[in-house]
Symmetry: C2
Subunit: 140 residues, 2 copies
DNA sequence: CCTTGAAGCTCTAGTGACTAGAGGTTGTAG
DNA sequence: CTACAACCTCTAGTCACTAGAGCTTCAAGG
């Protein structure tokens, strides 16, 4: 049996975050000692490891909830799990596309200016003032 | 002179967002009509355009505040503006690095599973349960 | 001049995924 | 048995908005 602090050390998830996961229903309410402190077993550890890994991969709490539901109903097809993963992949690719466009603009803006001179003709500032200089469509 | 709605249409920034920018000090408080409605001139329009563009490029409200300060003190060197832009670029590149690693993992996870079979041997779920399968370091 | 309704106003609360802090209680090593 | 690290709950703060309630004003048509 682990205390919340030991669980935290083993998974790298901060103590308040573990309590937060319980609060929002991602983790089943842990058993308690007589003095009301949480105690976890191996299953709790694995569950938190799963959550941690999924969060690292950018899955939302909602998506992780859905994945955990699937784990607990092994009779259901894994098609849903695959769909969730592919949605997440599409999401990541969209973000990559946008960030790449941003990178292009920021390089253009940063390089136009050598840092000398006064700010009333600073290329950074004039570029930001006028979108028409941009060579890519970008938005976040 | 523009109403807040006209300003919104011209810049693509939503009306409540414009009011929010005023509240947090990004936009100078607008002049008002006798009936207390905001009225903007060309300067207000340009300022909001600047903010919009900078937000699109992912600059934080705080960074934009600093950039606006620089605009209003043309005597100060534009080195600071360049620094802010380069910080933002470094930020974007770091995000790109992470997202690329995530993409690799998600492709691996999604492709391992054909969507058939029951979820107790679903590759998506077992991959999420065990980080050791991963081929890249990833975290967000 | 009067009515109507779109657009404006302020204020509060909610979003996601935590994080920080106050103020009190429990577990455990020495 | 004592000291104190670790635990507990609860509230509020973060960022950049967004939504909604309940009210007022502006402008066009009759």
């Amino acid at each position: 049996m682990f205390s919340i602090g030991q669980l935290s050390k083993q998974t790298g998830v901060k103590v308040p975050t573990i309590r937060y996961y319980e609060q929002v229903g991602l983790l089943v309410s842990a058993g308690r000692t007589e003095g009301n402190q949480r105690r976890y077993d191996k299953e709790g550890l694995e569950r938190l490891g799963f959550i941690r890994h999924a969060r690292d991969l950018g899955f939302s709490i909602e998506a992780i909830s859905a994945l955990i539901d699937l784990q607990q109903h092994p009779d259901r097809s894994c098609q849903e799990a695959t769909e969730i993963a592919q949605d997440q992949l599409a999401d990541v690719r969209e973000k990559l596309r946008r960030l790449t466009a941003l990178e292009t603009e920021l390089v253009r803006i940063s390089e136009g200016c050598d840092g000398d001179g006064s700010s009333n003709d600073c290329y950074v500032l004039t570029s930001l003032a006028d979108h028409r200089h941009c060579r890519t469509e970008h938005y976040c």
